[in-house]
Amino acid sequence: MHRVVVTGLGPVSGIGIGVDEFTDGLRRGRSAAAPITSFDASGFPHRYAGEVPAFRPAEVLRRLRVEDWGRSALFAAAAARLAVTDARLPLPLADPGRSGAVIGTTSGESTVVEQLVAEAVTGGYPSMSAASLRQAPAERLAYAVSAELGLAGESVTLTTACSASNYAIGYAYDLLHTGEADVMVAGGADSVCRWAHAGFFRLGALTERQCRPFDRDRSGILTGEGGAALVLETLEHARDRGARIYAEVLGHGLNCDAHHMVAPNEDSVAACMRLALDNAGIKPADVDYVSTHGTGTPANDLCEARAIRAVFGDRVPPVSSIKSMLGHTMGAASGFGAIATTLAIRHGFLPPTINWAHPDPELPWIDPVPNVARPATVRVAQNNGFAFGGNNAITIFGAIR
């Protein structure tokens, strides 16, 4: 069995594109929240989201033709390109068949599907464009990464909603750990779209302007978007090429609530944490920091905080939610969490939960690292991801030993 390490990071986010900008954004507690520009939101009572207005795919991509791909595929491919550049990974690889891509998503090519809807509303289904139909399948997110980087091994898109990046990282970890591959690019991507904005609004889960996880007065999520990618390698492969190593992937855990499509389940979330810690071979007391799912809805944060309490007991480490800065980037969310966790280990700081004003009297054991990043030694960190369908997925990262 092979140890697995993180050697490259590629964030395409509303608080920064590329690892340097993103790190700076986390340290400063920057917010991506802004009035929506990617669709006409004037009819919505809540009109803010965490978009990536600075995203110019043609400036990042070297091989893909931008017009051939949907926005989510471009997020994934751009994130992957930034990650391999950060990793100084020499491409093409000596054995492209032993490298691949695993990408998670919630809504896949949602903006392409919304284009098809607009065409169908105007002229009926027969007027849907073949080009958009060919861009719509969700598997094209991973294919975009493989095509951009010339990877010939496994190329798979996992559509397990808002924990999908953790599924992707976990699966990529397994492929490396068991010797099926040498290098995997893992992460996730999603795009802001009308239907998700409408759906979350009607569920009563959408906040107006600010996402305030773990605050007493938290009022919901901000929809967000972006692409998050990590270069994962076996330790041997990384050492052989003299790569800089950010952190080690220690393990992961998956389970399913089998309870409700939308409402989280405290017992199941706690069980998933225990699975992940066991898989990583560590104890709760080893964990120095938890990057939470932390959506900012009353229900999620209460459930998650109670599950953390159940697992960590009287020794709950500091936790924070980067969704306070990015919004809820859906299938990319736990990928950004993984990047933030890796940076926390590498640079010795805890990303803050911004917009935090009032402690929640129901959650006295939670230290949300309020508003300001904090210097800290992080040896082991846990990255939570939960999703519609009860799809829980947690990854564990550690400092390289």
């Binding site: 098809l116 294919y143 909603a161 699966y171 399913c256 499509m261 939308v262």
Partner: protein, 350 residues
């Protein structure tokens, strides 16, 4: 460690067991049903390889089924059949070790497009029905199946269109090998709707089909006795510039991983396998799905797998002989699985 198949659950235009799928493939003519009265919207065809008379309430009951979309309902029925056929009853002792891995293309394109459409045509863009929101998420079918049967183990949805089933099978095999699950419902689902019918027509992939086929995959040491087949290996790759060569390479890797000689392969299930003539013997028996059942996308590989199980079941001479299930896509995805089937493993209990 490999996985063994101990149960099948099929809902298809050809019938509700793998023997029906095989019979349709062998007949060589397209299975068709009259679809003219199924939808308010116009369709590109009067007949299609769609499932006739799928009665959700009759099969799943009234409770909690009124908001299910067709893809989700098809998957739930197939999952239930696979559990029953494999004689596995989830209980409080085992449910955390049983899970679901389903292949998809875009989830339910109809659910998503209908929901999105409301944001354009209603007086206010937010006047959508929140109860239908989970149907827009691509893991809806797997999540609902887990709820219905109480399955708390690994639950994943894998997108891949024509490759989705083989991707799901590989994902599931990994989960079993790594000890994350003891039993997984592995399958693919695709629904026939005006959306998929027109999508297939407009991209020259048609006619669109529909099906749900799910298999109960277990650890080999758990229940080798009742096994219909053993999944020895699955290999995948991405070869947009040379899909023929990519698929051939993939098949060779799968055979090597399974420690099987190419010359011993006796059957080849799946569409678009022309590129494999240099790999497998010329006399290999081919089981293509599309001519009989249309473009079933994420269900296509699952139907091919089922046809292979049925072929093994009726052919005692093929017991234990290895076969390949392959798939490829227009975008360059390639995958191949090596499967060993046994006689007497059919699911035709009529």
């Amino acid at each position: 460690m490999s996985g063994v198949v101990t149960g099948c659950g099929v809902v298809s235009a050809a019938g509700d067991c793998v023997a029906d799928v095989l019979a349709a493939i062998r007949a060589g003519t397209g299975v068709r049903s009259d679809v003219r009265d199924r939808f308010a919207e116009p369709l590109p065809e009067a007949e299609a390889p769609a499932i006739a008379g799928f009665d959700v309430r009759g099969l799943l009951g009234r409770k909690g089924t009124s908001f299910l979309d067709r893809a989700t309902a098809l998957a739930m029925v197939a999952c239930g059949r696979a559990l029953a056929d494999g004689d596995l009853t989830p209980d409080d002792d085992n449910r955390h070790r049983i899970g679901v891995v389903l292949g998809t293309t875009t989830g339910s394109l109809k659910s998503t497009m209908d929901f999105s459409r409301e944001t354009l045509v209603q007086d206010k863009p937010y006047l959508v029905n929140p109860v239908l929101f989970p149907n827009t998420v691509m893991n809806c079918a797997a999540g609902q199946a887990a709820i219905r049967y109480g399955l708390r183990g690994v639950n994943a949805t894998v997108a891949g269109g024509p490759l989705a089933f083989l991707y799901a099978l590989r994902y599931a095999l990994n989960a079993i090998r790594r000890g994350y699950a003891d039993a997984l419902l592995v399958g693919g689902v695709e629904e026939y709707t005006p959306n998929t019918a027109w999508a297939a027509r407009l991209t020259d992939a048609g006619p669109a089909g529909e099906a749900s086929a799910v298999y109960l995959l277990r650890r080999r040491d758990a229940e080798a006795a009742g096994a219909r087949a053993e999944v020895l290996s699955v290999a995948t790759g991405f070869a947009p510039d040379s899909t023929d060569a990519g698929l051939a390479g993939c098949a060779r890797r799968a055979l090597a991983a399974a420690d099987v000689r190419a010359a011993d392969v006796w059957a080849l299930a799946g569409d678009d396998s022309d590129g494999l003539s240099d790999v497998v013997p010329a006399a290999v028996e081919r089981l293509p799905v599309r001519p009989a059942l249309g473009d079933c996308q994420a269900a296509a590989g699952a139907l091919a797998f089922g046809a292979l199980l049925a072929r093994h079941a009726e052919e005692p001479g093929a017991a234990g002989r290895p076969a390949l299930v392959t798939a490829r896509s227009r975008d360059g995805g390639v995958a191949a699985a090596v499967v060993r089937g046994w006689a007497g493993g059919g699911d035709d209990h009529r």
